[in-house]
Symmetry: C2
Amino acid sequence: MKLAILGAGDVGRSVADLAGEYGHDVVALADSSHAAVDPDGIAVESALERKVGGEAVGTADPEDVFDTDYDVLVEATPTTLGDAEPGFSHVQRALEADRHAVLANKGPVAERYEELRALEAESAGSIRFEATVGGAIPILSTIEDSTPEAVTAVRGVLNGTANFILTRMAAEGLDYEHVLAEAQDLGVAEADPTFDVDGTDAALKFVILANVLSDGGFSLEDATVEGIQNIPGSALDLAAEDGRTIRLIGEATRDGVRVGPRLVPENGALAVTGTRNIVQIETRHAGSLHTSGRGAGGPETATAVLSDVGRLPPL
Amino acid sequence: MKLAILGAGDVGRSVADLAGEYGHDVVALADSSHAAVDPDGIAVESALERKVGGEAVGTADPEDVFDTDYDVLVEATPTTLGDAEPGFSHVQRALEADRHAVLANKGPVAERYEELRALEAESAGSIRFEATVGGAIPILSTIEDSTPEAVTAVRGVLNGTANFILTRMAAEGLDYEHVLAEAQDLGVAEADPTFDVDGTDAALKFVILANVLSDGGFSLEDATVEGIQNIPGSALDLAAEDGRTIRLIGEATRDGVRVGPRLVPENGALAVTGTRNIVQIETRHAGSLHTSGRGAGGPETATAVLSDVGRLPPL
């Protein structure tokens, strides 16, 4: 398939880098100001070198991407809340042109799910968004194959930054501020870590899951969310005395979404360590399926995008 | 889709029972001597009642199934080794009739993989076999979506009977014979438990995985297999002193298949308890994906069959 990639951050660049290995061509790669566009396939390596080297990714205008012949628009621009723009409009234009759209951007799927599905219904193209929930971990495709009706709940750890911080606080007896600084040094937390530590990032993912289970009906404002910024080191010590630890756990059911710090058994499935993510998918007939892995990262998220591309029907 | 189910054991009956929930019709259900056949859909509940009540599942001959109009043949007859008959011929006839085949029967996929793929290439129908490896756990579809080339190894626990026995031996300090008897009373081990305890069942599954990774080339005789029958209770006590336990672990890579008892960290991912299964899928770009769940059981395995049906292209 011919991929037009919007967004040249970690995810967009990794999709461009790995596309060939999965048998696809990259006909466009755009950031917010420039684009590399070539209907016969762009020179990916050169484009990536330019971008990483601080130069313009290409000489075209991002708007030119929509005039190119592509099969799949990959939406990998930064997540925005509320109206989820410009991501939502990007996907809208692809669907209105009867093209597919694969999202790594959580905004449109969390905040305007029903509108996306309505556009999809009118289009020859389809939307897929595995990469929006749990990076490399095949959560949405597992739910899709089980059929959403057979899934009663999805629970787990879907933010690696918060999980890393809690893991280190418990392991070293250090306080939150100290470990956050360590996480930023390591690149595990961003300079502005707000969405990771206040639970918003996890909540967006569980809102997406609730939308999948119920075929819409939820947005971020419907979620009950509490972050990890107020957990004292002493709380983890106390938990440890009882064979427990604390993790930022989210849950999505047909009734709604809750994210917050919870006590979990120290050696239990939910006590994943470091930046790893895990979900427990509760099903009607097959008990509880657990899937864990790397929930974030350029290549990891790119594999989810390319898995989605592989599952699209031909146009 | 119209399903023709061969095999009326736990799996076949569960597929018949759940098919309606997934939007499919059952046009035939056959055991080794009789069949219920109706091109407009059989009365599933009555057929199941008859079978479970010890009566003939229907008044037709199993051969009549192949004269019926069906879309998907579900092969859920008992696993046989070597020539994998009669399962192999059942699948062959479906493919030669340009119909799909979904297998829960490991025999044909483990022992005659290349022949199946050759028949599939000549057919309008496709084969899928998620249910042959790990029951409800979506292992093959995860590998398929990642693309087999991106997977370097698959490792884990894929036999619940052996895992249950080892879990109980460690927990209670009992010896193998005692726990095996308990497992048989609970229905976790069969009257003839040989294939579960000598590692053959796990080996068949890892052979199937090796065939998927390498697109053929392996059968059961290529696997190095050791079972759990000779593990003394003292071995587990000794392991526990070191923070370890013993599990029957299998591994499939492009080089081959090995199954045998291994020491694993007591609280590590591979130390699943009871009858649960787990696999670690090692990938080139996305690290290690872990998936665990119920590896066996009628409804559990049926959900894997029905997930496969959902992924078949229209005929």
